[in-house]
């Protein structure tokens, strides 16, 4: 039977759930990195066994970035800081928000999106990273503002086949794309509304608080975005965005996940007043027609009023077949589905606030 693991980054450390029976049952390791806020976890499935990444911040001791080549049994932190700003940047790493291994045709490439707004790239599998200067030197950078969570570059989507293309998203700043390997970056926010801005300033070139962007690798021109108020689709790599929020109970939320085998199927977790689950129900919303219609999928999820939202990296798929879909909530419950969201089971409960999840199946 295939083995699987689920990395669960929480506000108080990292947990790993494991399954040895093709994801039917899960057991939970002991907490690692206690008291660390594990905002970013990553799994590089190009490695055998998969290389695991985790990054967190300790209130006093700053950020750490570590990896494991034995499925989480032991962890190694590079002697020299894997991710650090060069002296001329005159700033210091506050937090890693995203760890994104490159596609299969870019061996060794791993990206890290960080706070303050910046992108780092590794060409040695995540041992060491360099600041992507084209984005750091962008003339817009001084106008990117911190979102409520911080000045974060939280989404990195390398193009699945063209190494020259990569897309990032920031809160706030919006979506930017490079087509020349990171030398130059252009904003790609046309059609994304800043709902809290004055009426005549609601569609700026950049500055949007985009919460998450998702892409299916078989269809790289199509993107889905969960914005700070607004859910969008682009069919041209982000050049133009169209609202697809009709049918959702709220246009606010954080995660956005595409089904790994069905490029038209996308998942969201809408939040309502107080950034609590819409109607205080624990409901994932699924669209199977690229956002034209949405329906709740909640069989097996709690029926009672639910006060745990889902953060931007706390929902993921595992790219197995049938795909596993996972999410963790701010009240420390983790759920999973292996039938595209039709039904759900619980992986873990009574954990700290879940910040990030990543899953993989392997032999």
């Amino acid at each position: 039977m295939a083995r699987a693991l689920l990395m669960i980054g929480t506000r108080k450390g990292l947990l790993i759930a494991r399954s040895d029976d093709s994801r039917r049952t899960w057991t939970l390791d002991e907490l690692r990195f206690p008291n660390q806020e594990v905002y970013a976890v990553g799994i590089d499935s190009r490695c055998d066994p998969p290389r695991l990444f985790a990054s967190g911040t300790f209130g006093w001791w700053g950020p750490f970035f570590t990896h494991s080549d034995d499925l989480g049994a032991t962890w190694a932190e590079s002697r020299q800081a894997a991710i650090a700003f060069p002296a001329e940047a005159e700033t210091a790493l506050a937090r890693v928000w995203q760890i994104q291994p490159g596609p299969p045709n870019q061996p060794g490439v791993v990206y890290a999106g960080v706070e303050p707004h910046a992108l780092f790239r590794s060409d040695d599998g995540g041992e060491s990273f360099s600041l992507v200067r084209g984005l750091w030197d962008h003339p817009h950078r001084s106008e990117w503002r911190p979102g409520n969570g911080g000045a974060c570059l939280h989404t990195v989507i390398p193009h699945p086949t063209d190494p020259a293309q990569c897309l990032v998203a920031m809160s706030t700043g919006g979506v930017y794309r490079t087509e020349d390997g990171g030398a130059t970056w252009n904003p790609r926010n046309r059609g994304i509304e800043v709902s809290f801005a004055p009426e005549d300033a609601r569609f700026p070139e950049y500055g949007q608080c985009v919460h998450k962007v998702a892409m299916h690798p078989d269809r790289p021109s199509r993107l889905f975005a969960q914005n700070h108020g607004g859910v969008y689709r682009s069919e041209d790599g982000g050049d133009e965005w169209t609202a697809i929020e009709t049918g959702l109970p709220s246009n606010f939320g954080f995660p956005m996940v595409v089904h790994p085998q069905q490029p038209d199927t996308v998942f969201a977790f809408p939040l309502g007043e107080g950034r609590l689950p819409s109607d205080t129900r624990c409901r994932v919303y699924r669209s199977q027609d690229a956002g034209a219609t949405w329906h709740p999928v909640n069989e097996g999820l709690p029926e009672e009023p639910y006060l745990g939202g889902v953060l931007r990296d706390a929902m993921c798929t595992d790219w197995a077949d049938p795909a596993g879909l996972f999410f963790g909530t701010r009240i420390g419950e983790v759920f999973w589905s292996r039938d595209g969201g039709e039904s759900w089971g619980q992986v873990a409960q009574r954990l700290p606030d879940v910040l990030s999840v990543r899953a993989a199946e392997f032999q």
């Binding site: 001791w61 700053g62 002296a87 700033t91 210091a92």
Partner: protein, 91 residues
């Protein structure tokens, strides 16, 4: 110039479990530079990549707290105690 760096419990695993280690340097900055050369993972828990002491790290030299701009120039005498601790902050 040799002094003792006293470590809080959470940082001791980064010094092979030692509660205190010998460090070299006649100023606080030189002490941290020595630490960076020998135990860089430990050093970056205390200072960021600009060389600045992290905001929630307290440093005492012979019992006197040192903070703010210029603190890395604080003299460290031979045999001094450099004590680091987490501030009463965080959650």
């Amino acid at each position: 110039m040799s002094s003792r760096l006293v470590l809080p419990a959470p940082l001791r695993p980064l010094a092979d479990g030692a509660a205190q280690i010998e460090v070299q340097g006649s100023t606080l900055g030189a002490v941290f530079d020595d630490l960076a050369a020998r135990l860089p993972i430990l050093e970056r828990r205390l200072r960021d990549e600009r060389g600045q002491i992290r905001p929630h790290v307290l440093v005492f030299v012979d019992g006197a707290g040192v903070r703010g701009e210029g603190c890395l120039s604080t003299p460290v005498r031979d045999g001094a105690e450099v004590f680091v601790a987490p501030a009463v902050s965080g959650g």
